[in-house]
Subunit: 197 residues, 4 copies
DNA sequence: GATGAATGAGCATTCATTCAT
DNA sequence: CATGAATGAATGCTCATTCAT
């Protein structure tokens, strides 16, 4: 199950919120919809999360954690640049395919959550997954296996195509699940940044 | 000037709406904010656009037109696959750089506008730029200059990285304007789908 | 009629608010009560006054003005210290007797209104009626007809008893209208601060 | 210490309530504010006082008792009308100066508490301090040392000025503590009701 | 066409109170 | 006695939309 949260009531609320946010969008979701979906009372929602934005922020964090942790764990075990690049694509594609609702939520939520009063907490936790990856890029680039690009372009060059396809899939514009294209996308990503293929 | 609209009052309203939508998001923008920004009265906004969604849809169309028309016009003049691919990147990158507010608006607007009652009108006009490009892809692929990928992947492979970088720039996560990376992004796009480089 | 306000709708709302505030207290009065009493819609109340506090502040000002203007006008015509002191008592007592609801409202409202965001506007307008009177006190005191007390005591010595009785009457603790005691209270006030009686 | 209450927890709660009520007003004070200020749990507050009004009533009684008892005790020892009148002023002024928070609370509380379900209990205990004093007034008036006024005016004539000054001080409108004016106020009170001075 | 007062359903949030542990 | 999660009615306020002038 996607959302890790020990407290049962909080988990119920977060799961209900995910369904509502995913179906109706964050702004159009009302507290009353979450209440009906979760079975908790309005007061209980506020007792645990303080506000609608509090729910959104808590869900955002919960959504991020599972994905990022797994990605980073696998990345740490890679032996080569090619393996590292492909792991990035694999974990992204597989997680989106397995958690479409959470993925859809993360897309909407960024804009919404990073304005509210919880922005700081999130920026600390978030700091773009890619900051964690920069050391790898630097090392492999220095080894000569990665082409030299402006630093800020690597994220887009490596995961841009993957993200775009996932976005199209989540929006229903294409039907084939991203994971079915994992090899193609991973290979393309590697070819894009590799010196020699 | 970005928004083409003969009627001055309507143009004022659309320009005001763009500023509001871009700064606050579509859902958080109120008619009263547009009224204050535009100088028009509430009644006038409703007289011209019928509803808030009417304003959003009109702006969406206005935003799309300049970009898509130019892109397609240039594309029609291309002589080679490489030229075509790069034109796609160039026009995308240059337009976003020149019209950041419109670009930001188009991102949000898709989800919002394509649900309201104006969806049909838009789907007709919109029909995803890439549908127009498929003939080109098909032709060049048959010529053997484009690698063979599942059809639904081409948009992502060609423009995914570009879109991702633009998205990051529009969100303030990177500072260098997309147009400054136009060559790198265009070359990368071409390398990604070219048979031989 | 007590509340001067040209705009009819605004006046209706203020009159309804006065009734509600006077009967139930400001904090216990809900917007819906004012709506029901006034016949205006919720939106209309907010259109004109912005908030519940806005209604309270507008009513406070309206209540203050009639009284203070009259008091000051009469005071300007006085020929002697005794006459001035008595005018203060007369106008206070008569106004409270004639406008018990407004008087009751002014009592509650001070604490409520002088905290909200309208405090500044009020402090400017208010600046305690007595600031206007200080010149008179100074002049008559220098003439030797008024006993010398610490400056800050004059308001209490002159109007304290009157205010206290009015307060008791407004609260229903005594039954005789203040105006019926106007001579006794005025004479007592004069005796309290006069050098020779 | 101002609030007499053997049970420590109850006293903590009452002291916390006094601070909250005094700072924010009774109606604006929430149970949760009292909880935070006192360190007791919500449940504990309800266990001891039954309701928010229960807290307010208990505090009201506690506040009243110290003051009224002392005032009445001293009054019983007076030998003359002048002494009696002045004792009333002294005890009032000194108690307010020594217990500004309690005094501020009593002002607000009257209106609030005398409506709730605890009104009866309080009216019994309260019964307006002055009812206790009427015998004295009657006696001295019959002796000819007190001027003859309508009975209901005596409270205002004797303590009105004092109360008004105290009220101004509690509201921050004047800075000098009431006790510093005790002689002036007491003398003025005596002059107001004395036959000969 | 333009204006802005009026409408009222809808929403986020608060808060006194209860009760199982 | 103490705790704090849970409850849900009540409230202030918003905002898209209408319509008389």
């Amino acid at each position: 199950m996607a959302i890790a949260e020990k407290n049962q009531r909080k988990r119920e609320i977060l799961e209900a919120a995910l369904i509502c946010f995913s179906e109706s969008g964050i702004e159009s979701t009302t507290i009353d919809m979450i209440r009906a979906q979760s079975g908790a009372s309005v007061g209980s929602i506020y007792h645990h999360f303080g506000s609608k934005e509090g729910v959104a922020a808590a869900l955002y964090i919960a959504a991020l954690e599972g994905h990022a942790e797994q990605q980073f764990a696998l990345l740490a075990q890679t032996q080569s640049a090619e393996e590292a690049i492909k792991i990035l694509v694999y974990t992204y594609v597989d997680w989106v395919t397995a958690n479409p609702q959470l993925a859809r939520y993360l897309q909407q939520a960024r804009g919404y959550v990073l304005n509210g009063p919880h922005a700081d907490m999130l920026k600390t936790r978030n700091s773009e997954r890619f900051e964690l990856l920069l050391p790898y890029i630097k090392r492999y680039r220095d080894d000569g296996v990665l082409s030299v690009f402006p630093k800020e372009l690597y994220p887009a060059l490596i995961l841009g195509a993957t993200k775009d396809y996932c976005r199209n899939w989540l929006a229903g514009r294409v039907k084939t699940a991203p994971s079915e294209h994992r090899e193609v996308l991973a290979t393309a990503a590697w070819r894009t940044v590799a010196t020699v293929v």
